[in-house]
């Protein structure tokens, strides 16, 4: 069986190799801090395997995470001059290779798709080929590796250091934003165990008028929206708002159609995800990946859509759920 942990080790290992390259890259004025940051992430990826199975203490990893946050947060990381081709070389190469260039790029989604809908059901010697529940992650990982092999063959590139260097340049371009989604997931967990959700639930319950259906619908949807913005994740907001308003008031008191109320509540939360920097993997990381000057560019592009869709969810719920 191919396990998800193997891929985490592979990712960790490639971060470690890239970190070693970063340390020796004299074109990067902050090469030591940058190397330390990515080295810690890489080591953390591998060490995490034992934290997940509770065979190793989580505290040292937690300390390392805070060190990474400080390295990046106080400006100890930077980027070197990428070693790449010139615009003319790329144009010439594109003209020569033509649409063959797309084959490796399309290999990733094709393999991911095959794993998600096909290989998922294959088993070998009574064991599933891919670890259960991790098929899409494994699909992405296998897709990336197959694509790399296909790409090196098509491009007749023999040096494995070339893709590793290119990948490193992109990592340096994304920079600290790479760690933010994981930090935010952590923050959500800490909020949960510290009882932030309960407090917000109590507040909402105390402030909500008991007799108006439409006010309650608006409070549930806008609450999901606002709380998702703060937490960066509709999944974290959902239990809180549903326990406070969705279930007791909308389903219990006003006798709403439970699937409709809950599904639309979650979707109202997704509107919040579109407009918050806390949803870093959707909003901040792409801004870094696309090399935008304005890290809030995607949020600005999504803001009107998010507002309109929040309105749609409220209207659909008010009209059809009761």
């Amino acid at each position: 069986m191919i396990k998800a942990e193997w891929f985490y080790w592979l990712v960790g290992l490639s971060f470690l190799v890239m970190a070693a390259q970063m340390v020796t890259d004299r074109s990067n004025p902050k090469r030591l801090g940058t190397g330390a940051f990515w080295g810690l992430i890489g080591a953390g990826f591998i060490y995490s395997s034992w934290v997940v199975t509770k065979q190793a203490p989580a505290e040292p990893l937690g300390g390392a995470v805070l060190v990474m946050a400080c390295l990046a947060g106080f400006g100890f990381t930077g980027r070197g001059a990428p070693r790449t081709t010139s615009a003319e070389q790329r144009a010439a190469s594109a003209a020569k290779l033509g649409n063959r260039l797309f084959i490796p790029a399309l290999t990733i989604p094709v393999v991911a798709m095959a794993c998600a809908i096909g290989v998922k059901y294959l088993s070998f010697g009574g064991e599933p080929v891919l670890e259960e529940g991790s098929e899409t992650i494994l699909g992405l990982g296998i897709g990336a590796i197959v694509a790399l092999v296909v790409g090196m063959i098509i491009l007749r590139e023999k040096r494995i250091s070339v893709p590793v260097q290119s990948g490193r340049s992109m990592l340096e371009a994304v920079g600290w934003a790479m760690l933010l989604p994981q930090m935010l997931a952590t923050l959500g967990a800490i909020f949960q165990v510290s009882g932030v959700g309960d407090e917000v639930g109590k507040l909402t319950a105390a402030l909500l008028p008991k007799d108006s259906l439409y006010v309650a619908v608006v409070v549930y949807c806008v609450g999901m929206f606002a709380f998702t913005m703060i937490m960066g994740n509709a999944f974290a907001a959902f239990p809180v708002m549903t326990a406070a308003v969705g279930w007791p008031v909308l389903v219990g008191h006003f006798d709403g159609n439970a699937p409709a109320v809950l599904a639309l509540g979650m979707l109202a939360g997704f509107c919040g995800t579109l407009v918050t920097p806390m949803a870093a993997n959707y909003n901040i990381v792409p801004a870094a990946l696309l090399e935008l000057k304005d890290q809030y560019g995607p949020i600005k592009a999504q803001l009107p859509t998010a507002g309109a869709l929040l309105g749609c969810n409220i209207v659909i719920m008010a009209l059809f759920a009761f």
Binding site: Y8, A58, I108, A116, L155, S166, G167, A258, P286, K293
Partner: protein, 236 residues
């Protein structure tokens, strides 16, 4: 009540534009301590959080192959290809991408598209290529705008497509939470059906905004060119 100060730390931190990693770190430590966790427990929470959420960073595995292809002119070829489809404007292309992303997510293929593996190497060069064919060299501001809208097409498509799919995390979270907490028997299918109206609204609203992007680009680029020539004259 006092644990809500952690939420306040986040809001203030982002409002004053501190580095997000530091904001989140400080907010996590503050909330944990105020909520009665020992310093050791707070550290463990950070460690467990990192270990449990590695999946969000796994897209990094695609970067070497994407980087390799870009070195050999992938973006240039994507631009070149789209330039041949004369009727495909930036807005129309992105609306098409939005639809594909939604359908993909709706049948459970949430990892098939994505910012690292599709938007950067393919969607952005194609969207920019369509505009370049019409207006020539694009000013930096326009490039930012097209890229922001490309990112938005991926996000909107993913969010409002995936809930139509039964086995997706959010649907399972809803049924899991409600069925265990309130002792009901909601089926994922019932919830997925109620995600369809919003999915249609999302496609219509965001698709319309993407189509309108064409007109905005036209307006912006015509004035930008006038402005550019004026600047060029002035600096001669």
């Amino acid at each position: 009540m006092i644990v809500l100060l952690g939420v306040l730390v986040v809001v203030i931190g982002f409002a004053t534009k501190r580095n997000p990693l530091l904001v989140v770190g400080v907010a996590g430590i503050a909330t944990g301590l105020l909520g009665g966790l020992s310093p050791g427990k707070v550290l463990a929470a950070f460690g467990n959080g990192f270990a449990g959420s590695r999946a969000v960073t796994i897209f990094a595995i695609t970067l070497p192959v994407i980087g390799l292809l870009e070195r050999y002119g992938l973006q240039e070829q994507a631009r070149h290809l789209i330039a041949r489809f004369a009727r495909l404007t930036t807005g129309r292309f992105l609306a098409l991408y939005l639809g594909l992303r939604q359908i993909g997510a709706a049948v459970g293929l949430t990892q098939v598209f994505g910012h690292a593996q599709t938007v950067r190497p393919l969607a952005v060069p194609m969207a920019e290529g369509a505009a370049e064919r019409k207006y020539g060299q694009l000013p930096h501001r326009t490039r930012e705008k097209i890229r922001s809208f490309s990112a938005s097409a991926d996000n909107v498509g993913l969010f409002f497509g995936e809930d139509v799919f039964l086995a997706v995390g959010s649907i399972l979270l809803i049924t899991g939470f409600v069925n265990t907490t309130y002792g009901t028997h909601l089926e994922p299918l019932q919830l997925a059906l109620w995600a369809i109206p919003t999915a249609v609204c999302a496609f219509v609203i965001h698709g319309w905004r993407l189509l309108r992007l064409d007109r905005q680009l036209e307006r912006e680029l015509l004035t930008a060119h006038v402005h550019d020539t004026a600047v060029a004259e002035a600096t001669k």
